[in-house]
Symmetry: C2
Subunit: 343 residues, 2 copies
């Protein structure tokens, strides 16, 4: 897992060497904009889909949704796919119900795109366009470079769909350097900090707007590697109930980025402190969070859309370090396999 975390800058650069292929797909979409973009994936890929909703909304200004797989496959609802673009996200290209969803959507007239590491997979063979993830073979069960490259691929695709592809590509080159520098700088301090959390069984991770994808991905890494019941919440979700579950033994991780949603995150952090819960602050705007016990600063990304690629790094490193501190094996957590075949 650590090897794969460290490999992320190289993986982003490898993806960028395929910029032209992704540009062509983005330009095709731009020429004939979809009415709706439907994103489907599970686990880490579903968290990348959360990012996709914001990337499509912020760049080309298109409505994207994480579509319900059960509505389409199990209930067989008679939905209209005319004018829809479907984006299936699957590292392996073999996730059974993602494949089935894309098959059905295609039969009902949707244009289809796969974002996958495996260009010869079942999913890749089904679709109109393949966005190659170029993450390289991933062996750790807890995906890291796949996630970061899914975000980079979605940023490029939506950038070109908005006629701003070059700007995003330049930003991604810069982001790859920031990712490298951040991993080098944070690896050691996070390893030291993680041992404080050996007895922690539950945690909230707060993000908002585009950083909701980061909160979801950090929570998932904590669950997968460290058996922490970590739940991702928006700053608003927190205020609507979960805030009362907090106490002094309940750590809350807040992700602070200098963007339109920061005030809501600061307010959530204030409420967390008020009830005496232990606060972790990460992100490029962590300094604005008052009273944090732990601070994990990251550099500012070139743009809001690229922020989550940097913001997730402290969570990846922390999940891996906590897993080790608890005596687990972060590379192959008991009870999980790389391709989830259950329905």
């Amino acid at each position: 897992m650590l090897g794969e975390i460290r490999e992320q800058p190289a993986a982003i650069r490898r993806l960028l060497s395929h910029e032209k292929e992704i540009a062509r797909i983005g330009e095709r979409l731009k020429a004939d904009p979809p009415k709706t973009v439907r994103l489907v994936g599970h686990g880490t890929s579903d968290n990348a889909a959360t990012f996709g909703v914001y990337a499509f909304g912020l760049l080309p200004g298109w409505t994207a949704l994480r579509d319900s797989i059960s509505l389409n496959i199990y209930y067989d609802a008679e939905l209209d796919f005319d004018g829809s673009v479907v984006v299936g996200l699957s590292q392996s290209g073999e996730t059974p119900d993602v494949v089935e969803y894309v098959e059905r959507a295609r039969a009902r007239g949707a244009r289809t795109i796969a974002i996958t590491n495996e260009e010869n997979s079942t999913l890749a063979n089904l679709v109109d366009f393949i966005v190659p993830l170029q993450a390289g073979s991933e062996r750790a069960v807890a995906a890291t470079k796949t996630y970061v490259n899914s975000l980079a691929a979605l940023a490029l695709l939506t950038g070109y769909a908005a006629g701003r592809g070059k700007e995003i590509a330049v930003g991604l080159f810069e982001t790859a350097d920031l990712v490298e520098e951040t991993i080098t700088r944070l690896e050691q301090p996070i390893a030291t900090m993680a041992s404080d959390f050996v007895f922690v069984g539950r945690m909230f991770v707060i993000g908002r707007g585009i950083e909701l994808s980061t909160a979801r991905e950090i929570a998932l890494k904590l669950q997968e590697t460290s058996r922490v019941a970590a739940e991702a919440l928006t700053a608003t979700d927190l205020a609507h109930g979960p805030v009362v579950a907090l106490d002094a033994l309940f750590p809350v991780w807040t992700i602070a980025t200098a963007e339109a949603n920061l005030p809501a995150v600061l307010e959530a952090a204030r409420r967390v402190r008020e009830v005496g819960a232990i606060l972790i602050a990460s992100g490029a705007a962590e300094k604005q969070i008052e009273g944090a016990f732990y601070r994990l600063p990251t550099p500012a990304a070139p743009s809001v859309v690229l922020s989550p690629i940097v913001s997730v790094l402290p969570g990846q490193l922390f999940a891996r370090a906590l897993s080790l501190a608890k005596g687990y094996d972060p590379d192959s957590p008991t009870g999980l396999s790389k391709i989830t075949r259950v329905p």
Copy 2:
């Protein structure tokens, strides 16, 4: 809270006395179908929106999404609302960013509907159509009858939008009786059972398909009233990571209904048992879940779309009973207020 739980059958019947108003709105939508339905709400209203995604998909076959409020309000994304119907859900009709979202969507050309208890609220005064919740004044912070009536209102609205309104209305009359009988039957056994959970700090609640709304609402009630870090997961989410966080002290609540998603829920329950976690099984198909420690059977609803109205009841009663067993006040949990004004 208990008074309001008990009042639910009467609240559903009260809503049904306004069937004609809701029918008119549903028929207007049917005459001019939207390209997209955008649902917005927070907390309990957001859980009702989860139900709405399935009700719109299963009945008229329309694509509905829980739209991102931050994308529209805070990022001010240039989204196209042409052909969209917006459904704002707010008990009070005063939730600030739901009001702001609906205002913007309207200015950008969306048709707008409010589902609210307050027909003279800011939200109600903004919209083209008001669906009156008719839940009656709700004083407990943890909403119960508002949730159930939001589901009933959405079922009626989508039923009429699909030309099947009469059938749904007849089913709702029957459901009101089932709700009454279930509350009477389960109130006492759940009060006894809840005391076993006094030291529980975390829980997963598993539902899938249309019962995902139930899982989310039960998890929210547990957080609000009993300070349990309860997280709602689909059966598939569970397999993609969280399953490894489980151990023998980690209770998992599964909601089993006899519908297309039941096999996935049974498989999730099997994996939960395999790692030795304590299993609670509720719903009309709970008998099919093997090895549950606790069973909370509910009667089968007249149709899949109406199931969640009955399935949520054990969770409401349990959350209230656990709150009392822990020495809290279920009617006004410390730290929450009825109308959440934070952004």
